[in-house]
């Protein structure tokens, strides 16, 4: 039997498995952590601001609004985009894979976007694509975690996120909020890509991130301040 088929096939061996129905009653601990005791999920799966984990409309309202009907994804997937792997040690579905897919798409889209310059008069451009932009600060920072993190914050997308900071008293960048917000935004792109396909996901990036010019403005400010 091949390995991959085992879990999928789920062959029940009735002669081996016991026919007795077992029920378990587990004590769920409340209060501070005690080694070896399972904690009550009511208490654990709550963010610092007191948002309870779940697909409540309060939690995913902002994201639903941002996605609009055109790019809508299911509530569960929205919640997964909002959940970082640090939340509950990854026991809830989290956005790591979606982020990986989304970040690759955003990187690719921005690379295509900045070189697409049909009116350039640079002689080393190939087929109307100016490759001198690649590697410049603006090209690199456009999809960076700082620009996207600030974008998410300005649009109120990161007001509810399920994650755990090592220290949430320090500022936006150092606490990891910036990184987690950027990851959340990229995971959203990944989710739209998975649900609606690549073409729609690219429209999403164009319409929601670029067309208002907000992301570019943020990036320009970041680059200008760094110099």
């Amino acid at each position: 039997m091949t390995i991959s088929s085992i879990m999928r096939a789920r062959i029940a061996l009735t002669n081996v498995a016991r026919n007795v129905e077992c029920t378990r009653s587990i004590y769920l601990h409340k209060g501070p952590r005690v080694a070896g005791l399972k904690r009550d999920p009511e208490q654990v799966f709550v963010t610092n601001q007191g948002y309870k984990y779940g697909t409540d409309s309060e939690n995913i309202k902002n994201i639903k609004q941002f996605l609009s009907d055109k790019y809508a994804v299911s509530d569960e997937l929205t919640l997964q985009c909002l959940t970082h792997k640090s939340f509950g040690n990854g026991i809830k579905p989290h956005n790591e894979k979606l982020y990986a897919l989304g970040s690759k798409l955003v990187q690719l889209y921005f690379a295509k976007y900045v070189i697409d310059t049909p009116n350039t008069n640079n002689e080393s451009a190939i087929n109307g694509k100016n490759f001198d932009v690649i590697g410049t600060p603006i090209a690199k920072e456009l999809g960076s975690r700082m620009a996207l993190g600030i974008f998410a914050k300005q649009n109120g997308l990161n007001s509810v996120m399920f994650w755990k900071s090592y220290n949430n008293k320090v500022n936006f960048a150092s606490s990891g909020e910036m990184k987690v917000s950027a990851q959340m935004l990229l995971a959203l792109v990944g989710a739209v890509n998975l649900v609606h396909g690549k073409q729609t996901a690219e429209e999403f990036i164009r319409e929601k991130l670029l067309s208002t010019g907000e992301l570019e403005d943020i990036t320009v400010k970041i680059v200008q301040e760094a110099h």
């Binding site: 085992i6 378990r24 990854g90 932009v133 890509n193 907000e214 320009v220 400010k221 680059v223």
Partner: protein, 370 residues
């Protein structure tokens, strides 16, 4: 025409929330301009105005056409007619910008890398949505890591330009031949005497040696960047669909030994956590299914990992412990290497394909920490 589609509304009066506070953070470094390139631009976001003012030019197409190496490479890779030979030559140039007056492959190879990353990631996510992130990254590396790309570059029959100017002159080789080879060595490096089996690090390489990471010779890097740049050039000339087909034909058609990429440290704990994550109410149990008999010359045990009446995995070992561990690993592998199929039983389409339909199964829940 990405830029033309975008209707730029007047930038809203956005004040960055304490931007200076973010930028000054120690945990984040903003990219700076490379001063050697002397890049000039009119406006930061006017991408067409960017220009490196250091003297470089592209190889004229007429010169590239003189080079049989380029023509052969072009037809060996079955590249379309629109793909210019001068771009192919530029893809093989990894010299420092401006050192030989020709445009190098930096931009092309960065674009190619982005294309490769996306299509590899998309393919892996759709093939194995539940693959743990560590293994996913290893798999991406197996497809498009530098060593793999360099191997592909070599299999394309790309030659390295090791001929110095003097040797070039003495052998009466046509000038254009040089433009069909992989150029990354400096003129003085070419003149150093080489000993077979000994790799001498150049000054630049000595400085960039990172003792924490595996050392990658410059030749490997050059080959890898050339392969990426060829892919970037393909996008530039014929667009994304052809590039995607090229990536699937040349890179994703390789055999990926993904089932050999797992290194478990605490498999039983992991399975218990995983079942917890999946919301199974019954506990994980490891049971003996069969054995040859403890007193047999070479005892063999078959153990199974069960949740309630469902068997998750099965393992054979010469001791109970071995059989149990193998059963657990088998169960985990069965979960992680799951590949979804669509309703008609076919391989699901990729998001970049026309007619793509979303399947719930292609979203993985992510791995658990233990």
């Amino acid at each position: 025409m990405l830029r033309q589609v975008i209707k730029r509304t007047a930038a809203k009066n956005i004040s960055l929330v304490r931007t200076s506070g973010y930028v000054a953070s120690r945990s984040y470094h903003v990219t700076k301009f490379d001063s050697r390139l002397k890049t000039e631009y009119q406006l930061l976001t006017d991408y067409s105005s960017y220009k490196h003012t250091i003297y470089t030019h592209r190889l004229p197409e007429s010169t590239a056409e003189q080079c049989p190496l380029l023509i052969a490479l072009h037809s060996r890779l079955n590249l379309p007619k629109e793909y210019q030979l001068s771009t192919l030559s530029q893809a093989l140039n990894m010299q420092q910008f401006g050192s030989d007056g020709l445009a190098n492959n930096f931009g092309l190879s960065t674009l190619g890398k982005n294309l490769l990353s996306y299509y590899t990631c998309e393919y892996l996510v759709m093939q194995y949505p539940r693959l743990p992130m560590a293994v996913h990254n290893t798999a991406v590396d197996a497809y498009m890591g530098k060593l793999t790309l360099a191997e592909i570059g070599k299999s394309w029959g790309i030659e390295v330009d090791t001929v110095s100017k003097l040797q070039h002159f003495l052998s009466q080789e046509p000038e254009a031949m040089k433009y069909g080879r992989l150029r990354f060595q400096l003129e003085e490096e070419k003149n150093t005497v080489k000993e077979d089996g000994v790799y001498e690090l150049s000054q630049v390489e000595m400085e960039s040696v990172d003792t924490n990471n595996e050392f990658i010779p410059k030749e490997i890097e050059a080959y890898a960047s050339a392969v990426q740049a060829v892919i970037g050039g393909l996008y530039t000339h014929v667009g994304e669909n052809a590039t995607k087909a090229f990536i699937h034909d040349h890179i994703l058609s390789r055999k990926l030994p993904v089932d050999k990429m797992f290194q478990f440290s605490k498999p039983t704990r992991e399975l218990v956590r995983l079942c917890d994550k999946l919301g199974f109410t019954d506990p994980v149990e490891l049971r003996l299914i069969a054995e040859t008999g403890r007193l047999s010359a070479h005892a063999v045990y078959v153990a199974g990992a069960f949740v309630g009446k469902e068997k998750l995995g099965e393992g054979v070992g010469s001791s109970l412990k071995e059989a149990k561990t193998r059963a657990v690993v088998n169960a985990l592998m069965g979960y992680y290497l799951y590949s979804p199929i669509d309703q008609d039983g076919n391989e699901p389409k990729l998001p970049s394909e026309a007619g793509y339909v979303f399947e719930e199964a292609s979203v993985g829940g992510g791995d658990v920490a233990i």
